[in-house]
Symmetry: C2
Subunit: 215 residues, 2 copies
């Protein structure tokens, strides 16, 4: 199955031509970011938390301190919604009404469960290497006590959708005669030069993982 | 009152030194972005939608098509949680465990209500000018029929918190002797050269709002 089933929960109701339900598109958008927003419900109140993640197959891994609100609630297996959004540009139309945003976004539905002790190390590797490729291999591995103080959650993707807008403005026919500029302002998350820690010994070089990092 | 009251709902449980409850900090983080994630609950299921917004005082304005899932549900006045997150850098520690992310985030709690017909135009101005300063003044104003097809929601901020991490890695004492690079990879949303619409007449110049746009 290379597509997520389209149900009432994940179906995009607005601008259906921007909707994608294939796993390849969903995975690409998820793998191009490393911070998601996680939503869950406690006594009818929605909460929202930005957090780092990594994906492997249809599993999204999150980690956090054992007593955090997110962990304490999510480990109960309550429904979770996860969103990842990339901003690609501002679509500047001649009319305010047709102005828009170019973006790629994914919304995932599922439930979380605690990752077992013997799978924790692997899950943290997936998260770490999703942030910076190969960092897990460079960094000092976790001590037992560090693993004990960290909870890792696995969210199995039950349902998902992607939404993508690309291209320039689409204005009303009569507006093309107006003397108003229209176009796109491209946006991109850009990495600057890595800044060494003040306490780093001068002879330690920047690894290629950091030097060549691109978002 | 220049601070949001700290209650069970908005209190940050983890790393309290990163928490801010003053309105100035919350407003600054909100005003530096224009896409938020909005979370709401339908029959126990959390939904999450990325959408453009604008802030005025303690009000966050969102807009959407009248029949969108977000609008249909939020206009009932159900509890809403809104988050805005800026990624400022990757904190590369010597250990995987102490690696982190520099960020500024805000979480807002409130309820949405429909903006009345005579306030819609103003709310759309706030949203538009939050995306690109002064664009409302440059663009063709909405027609009556465009306003009719758009619903605008006002979320009054009942409660909010900001969370900020800055600075380099903080490693375990013994790890400073390791031959492992550590530092920060700065991240910033960057705007590229504006790209004119294919159908734009050549004599129309790029306005300073687009030419000098910075995220």
């Amino acid at each position: 199955m290379n597509n997520y089933e389209v149900t009432e929960r994940n179906k995009l109701k607005r601008v259906p031509k921007r909707a994608h339900y294939d796993k390849e598109t969903v995975y690409q958008i998820l793998d191009a970011a490393f911070v998601c927003h996680v939503s869950f419900v406690v006594e009818g109140q929605p909460f929202l938390i930005p957090t780092a993640y990594g994906r492997e197959g249809d599993t999204i891994y999150l980690h956090g301190a054992t007593k955090s609100r997110m962990l304490v609630n999510l480990e109960k297996g309550i429904p979770v919604c996860v969103a990842v959004t990339h901003l690609d540009g501002i679509v500047v139309a001649r009319s305010a009404f047709h102005s828009s945003i170019n973006y790629r976004s994914v919304v995932v539905f599922g439930k979380a469960k605690l990752v077992s002790e013997d799978q924790k190390n692997h899950a943290l590797e997936v998260i770490t290497n999703n942030i910076i490729g190969n960092r897990w291999e460079e960094a000092r591995p976790p001590y037992e006590k560090e693993l004990k103080g960290t909870s890792v959650l696995a969210i199995e993707i039950e349902s998902a959708s992607a939404k993508i807008r690309v291209g320039g403005p689409v204005d009303e026919k009569e507006d093309y005669d107006l003397d108003i500029w229209a176009g796109v302002i491209p946006l991109q998350m850009t990495a600057g030069e890595p800044v060494a820690d003040d306490l780093l010994r001068a002879e330690i070089p920047i690894p290629s993982s950091a030097r060549n990092f691109t978002y």
